[in-house]
Amino acid sequence: MKILLSGEGGQGIQTMAKILVGAAYNQHYKVNYMPHYGVEMRMGISRAFVTISSDKITYPKFSKADILSVMTKRNLNLVKEFIDKNTKVINAIDLVDLPEERNLPTTSFNMIVLGIIVKEINKSNIKIDKEKILEEINKFLGKKPDLTKNRVAFEVGYDLADNMYSKLLKSVKPDKFEPIINKDDKKEHIIYPDICKGCGICLIKCPVGALSWDKNKKNFLGKPIPKVDMEKCIGCGICEDICPDAAIKVNKKSKTN
């Protein structure tokens, strides 16, 4: 059974994998787990290759997965190559809000997905005992305050109806971002949410405090982006100059361009 877990760095992909192989190992299966990160320190895509088998495992990676779980839109292209006609795809992209709906912490999203994965594994001839998983959850998350909630989250995933996560990946639409353009008769201030990483340096460097966080608009990482108060802005261009990601453009009307 070859399982590929994928998601954003920080979603707890590697914890899921460790819990899964720990439980399977305790049931005397042969297991292999191989983390796979990008070289980035942050914002990288995180993947884990997990193999669970009754026979010897000869190679830690694989080219096609039996089960593939996808937790974010950003890595769709990276995982598509692991799909063939026998792959069971767990599309958890739309389930991000499920923890909130069930009164669970957002960080327990990974435990919900883990529940779904275990349920799917148990449809094959490999059977993972739920109790063993809960033991491993205790081991890994025992010191965290949300332990019981994580256990509940796992159960939620385990009992989730199949149609909640079986939407075809093809039907997932990538996020669309439009530049946010503010204009008055003297200047034009543009912010690009598809490249702003929400670092906050522009807010600090603006000499008149014209920038603040826009809680309602999200950048490509799902974090807030700055918004400009055109009354205060003097069009100096300091924010454009300092922005590491070139996500701001300020045009003064007198400039010819």
Partner: protein, 247 residues
């Protein structure tokens, strides 16, 4: 992720748009330096004849940053690789873009030799006082009492030595023709001028040019945007106080 037909006016022309948003952390000084380098390349119109060499460490995340010829080398070996390239292609503008670990620890010997030989290349050293990609370990440039993952109680300079002053060292070499400067990412306009002058020095005077840039690492310093600017302006600026053109 970019909109069709949008040329992104905020980008230098030499940027490779398909690789943006780039791979650096939010608020990383690398992105500011590379943006300014991009504008300097545009201004000098040298995009087609630039060789951009990068090192191991966070600097390697720039492997697809520009639409220019790029080479990635072993740790600390960017300077000699770029020097060698310059020997066979003297008309190219060759840039070695390295971190402080690559330049001042493992690659110091190559750097000094290139500077002493007056190799006509430009070296840009990004100084963020630690090894970023590997998890924030102590580097030669780590400040006094700075907490890093290998100096959890703060760096003891009695034991570990003072923060390394790269530009001062290069300046003290007998080579009279080199250009030496130190910039800081919180002064982006000045930084752009320094980088541009360094490239011009290589092109016009056929000599060695060196720019160290004081940069930020919010991830490994474990600080917010404000915290990273404070560290840069209050602590690093005092330790590395000679800024601007040194030679």
């Amino acid at each position: 992720m970019l909109f069709a037909n949008d040329t992104k006016q905020s980008y230098p022309k030499s940027f490779k748009i398909s690789s943006k948003p780039n791979k650096f952390c939010p608020g990383c000084g690398h992105s500011i330096i590379l943006k300014k380098l991009g504008f300097a390349i545009d201004e000098l119109k040298i995009q087609k004849k630039t060789l951009f060499g990068i090192d191991i460490g966070c600097s390697l995340l720039a492997w697809d940053f520009f639409n220019v010829d790029t080479v990635q080398t072993h740790h600390g070996r960017t300077v000699p690789v770029v020097s060698g390239y310059k020997l066979i292609k003297p008309k190219k503008t060759c840039i070695a873009y390295v971190g402080d670990g690559g330049a001042y620890a493992i690659g110091l010997q190559s750097l000094i030799t290139a500077a002493n030989r007056n190799d006509p290349i430009t070296v840009i050293v990004v100084n963020n006082t630690l090894y970023g990609m590997t998890g924030g370990q102590m580097a030669p440039t780590t400040l006094k009492d700075e907490v890093t993952s290998t100096t959890p109680k703060g760096k003891n300079i009695e034991e570990k030595g003072n923060p390394f002053l790269g530009p001062e060292l290069i300046k003290s070499l007998p080579n009279k023709k080199s250009y030496v400067a130190r910039g800081i990412v919180s002064e982006p306009q000045e930084l752009r001028q320094l980088i541009k002058k360094a490239l011009e020095h290589q092109i016009k005077n056929k000599s060695f040019s060196f720019v160290e840039v004081l940069s930020t690492c919010p991830t490994n310093w474990k600080v917010s945007a404000q915290g990273s600017l404070d560290m840069l302006e209050d602590k690093m600026s005092i330790c590395f106080k000679n800024q601007g053109e040194l030679k």
